[in-house]
Amino acid sequence: MRRLLKKAGFYLSVLVLVSPAILVFLWMLSLSFKNELDNTAFPPVFIPNPPVLSNYLDVFAKNNFALYLWNSVLVTGGAVLIGLLVGVPAGYGIARGKAAKFAILILIARMTPALSYLIPLFLLFQMIGLVGSITALVITHLVITIPIIVWIMIGYFENVPLELEQAARIDGATTWQAFRYVALPLAKPGIVIGGILAFIFSWNNFIFSVVLGGKNSRTLPSAVYNSLTFEQISWGPLAAAALLVTLPVLLVTVVAQRQIVAGLSAGGLKDG
């Protein structure tokens, strides 16, 4: 009996732990599939009956959603790609060169509020006429992607045994070749994790696009936020848009859960 009670208590605690997440996500889903009448009904309607797609159609028809989606893809894609091209070799150089001071600089960069980069970069872009351009957003998003990628790659390259590269060097390989053909393939999991986390943090970023994005260069999070201020309560389309914005990230989380957990416990901090 005591055992049974203990077991019931355990499952109850599991339920309590996951229910806030389930509640919010399901409510978002429910709002996005209900018509406006049901969304403003009290007591609230929980299960859309019948479920309607009009909110999703609205999002694409009225709000230029496709353009903002494309902007998000360009900005995040560009920032992650450049981040990997620059950050992976840097992680190698820091790990092998034992550049501890540079590593600390990267750590401080990870801890600094994103907002604090915004004023100087805004002035700079204003001076060279880049405010409102995709280029400015890609450059600014490097503030997010490079530190996380470098930080994770340092950890991975430190775990690649130096002896393998030394053996390659003895066989006549250059430093570059030892990096390219020995260390890089072994650190591949790190590249995947660094890329995924950089993608998530860059995709989720909001404030850079609010300040630096123009009417046509906004990324999704700030575009959805802007639609909030212009429309009155129209919860259905808003919930549908919110769901579409966060869907890619949630899908990546589900697919790559194992890698993300490994990457975060390897010392990743979130950005913000």
Binding site: V24, W27, A99, I119, L121, I146, Q166, G172, T175
Partner: protein, 310 residues
Amino acid sequence: MTATTLPPVVGAEPAPPASARHSVDFTPRYWLFAAPAVVVIAAVIVFPWIFTLYMSGHDWKIGGGPEFVGLQNYAELFRDSRFLESMGHTLYFTVLAVVLPILFGTAAALVFHRDFPLRGLLRTIFVMPMMATPVAIALVWTMMFHPQLGVLNYLLSLVGIGPQEWVYAPGTVIPTLVMVEVWHWTPLVMLIVLGGLAGLPSEPYESARIDGASDWQMFRHITLPLVWPFIMVAVVIRTIDALKAFDTIFVITQGGPGTASETLNIFLYLQAFQFYKIGYASAVVVIFFAIVILLSLLLLYARQKSKWNA
């Protein structure tokens, strides 16, 4: 980068001894790998830091030119009651947004450390809030907080609790925003502590059980001391993250009602991009930066000192 000082291995020449392989000229070339990153980091990270410091010593409005005023911005800040209030809000928010996720996250880690059916799936669900786009989630919370039509007040009414004002009253706005923050970031604490639990040895538990220790005693005297360093890491990360909290507060309240939820971050944003006081806002950034660095050093130091004595 392709030049090498190692002689090409020709014929049956023996490999150089180990000491020769560790020759000094290995080190400088590794810097070349970091060179592109150094350039980019100098441009988008270090330059903004220095420029911010420079701006903080000037009276500078967007559109106008800089005028050197020395430390006047800083002096003015500490006379600005709105700034001082925002410091108070930040402190209140941060304390709650560190303590609660640490408690819940540690409890969650203990639960997910055990094996039970569907654990993998449930853990994925539990971790999802951490990855979800904060703006999107903030919009959903905003709809849930609606005083008349919101689902939260309805759910409370089911258990006999009267309607709450959530983010619409100065008294409840910060705890409500903390609730959203707790929702988002408890999973990160859980993951960090779970990592600590995964490395625990099993022997102490076996002998403690033979000695008749209760579950609570085992947690208090074995588990807690062993995972303490991980909890401290989580405290450091949470503190820095809570100080930086911006997206959800900005979307849900924009610092309101009035200035009741205006944290340092929101204050800074408004000064810079609503009132265009660049120099003034830069001084806030410098103070903010100093607090973040100081806190992380302090907490890392505390972590080294607190070799928990059980």
